[in-house]
């Protein structure tokens, strides 16, 4: 068993010595772990409306339009006046990407949990339920795809909450 592990480590090492496709700046596309802690992930709040940074999925419900802001939360837009819809609030919901709504309950992912919000008053959406550990989290050791360079995770920095493709110098791992 130990031999297999040693062999595995050796092959990772060998792979990591491959000549790399670098551009003039010596950088390559590589996956980089994004770290977080459970307290960050569970830091959910209603905030005033704000600018959209990474526009994500859209959803329409009653007189409201929702747009996920990738990995940070959900913009809430009041469309009662269809001539002038306005952002009214931001639901801070770390690591969320998807929502669906029925009967004034908004369902959204919050890392590996399913969360439920009562949105009968959307500006004051209330977390009413958390169903823990129903979605798989990102692999703690490897990025989601093979055949790529990546920065080896440093476990002292926390949980790997996602892998992000970046253009970096000398990624220290390859898979």
């Amino acid at each position: 068993m130990r031999r297999i592990i040693l062999f595995f480590i050796a092959s990772i090492y060998l792979f990591s010595c491959d000549p790399r496709q670098t551009d003039l700046s010596g950088e390559v596309d590589a996956y980089v772990p994004v770290y977080g802690s459970l307290s960050d992930i569970h830091d959910i709040a209603m905030e005033p409306q704000k600018s959209t940074l990474k526009p994500g999925k859209i959803y329409a419900y009653k007189n409201y339009i929702f747009q996920n802001d990738l990995y940070t939360g959900v913009h809430i837009i009041d469309n009662s006046n269809q001539k002038n819809p306005v952002k009214i609030a931001f639901l801070k919901l770390p690591l969320s990407t998807d929502i669906a709504i029925k009967g004034d309950y908004l369902y959204a992912n919050n890392y590996v949990d399913l969360t439920v919000f009562d949105i009968s008053d959307p500006v004051h959406a209330q977390l009413v339920k958390r169903v823990a550990n129903v979605f798989p989290g990102p692999d703690q050791d490897f990025p989601p795809f093979r055949g790529t360079y990546f920065q080896c995770p440093d476990k002292s920095k926390g949980i790997v909450v996602r892998w992000e493709m970046q253009h970096i110098k000398i990624p220290n791992c390859r898979r």
């Binding site: 526009p55 959803y59 419900y61 747009q67 269809q82 819809p85 669906a100 399913l114 009562d118």
Partner: protein
Amino acid sequence: MKKNILYLLIILLFFCQCEKDTASSFQNSGTTGQGGSLARFAITGNYLYTVDENQLKVFDIISGSNPVLKNTVDVGFAIETIFPFKDKLFIGSETQVYIYSIEDHANPKLLSSAISPQVLRRCDPVVAKDSVAFATLRTNGPCGGTQSILAVYNIKDITNPVEVTTYPVGEPYGLGYDDDVLYVCDKQRGLLLFDISRPYQPTLIDTNINDGSYIDVIPYQNTLICWTTTGIILYDITDNRKPVLIKNIN
């Protein structure tokens, strides 16, 4: 990851709830909202269906505030999207579409994963209207192919779509329809409108709408909600052939 979401999806989009006049369901507290084509969450009836990389999960949401995980189904690899179509679920992965029956809501049953690759390949957003499906096949990026097209299929037999006609387009993404107008997001040419009153002969409506880089659309009541690379752009589609810019929300 964002790039993957944008580029690697099989996108299945069904607009059965898109009719402009939804006044009755509008006031019903049990109203279900409407998602876009890249969704991983879908509600149909009293069930929330979610997909992750490999699995389909079924949550009973009869008690809205207390979802109960009822079932977990191993589907395949690199699952990207889920789309409810009548009593079926279309689950898109990078390489194929899986069709599940949800006649028994909590127990999805695999019907088929054998859709012809030239019909519903990856990167192919689809909308279905009655027995007709519209798909955009994008050829740039990792998806292969030679010419991006809008394709029209006969889906009377849902497990065996038959291509009837195609129309060349630029770099298409999501699409959706309102009545007899089909909206197609095209990164090169803007928002394209097609008259689909004769669905097997879609004709391009002469417009020039190019206010952003369009990713997906939801026709909703009299508004066309467009997801763009900068946020949302809204159009008044009271006259569905002549969208009028309402505003950008960034």
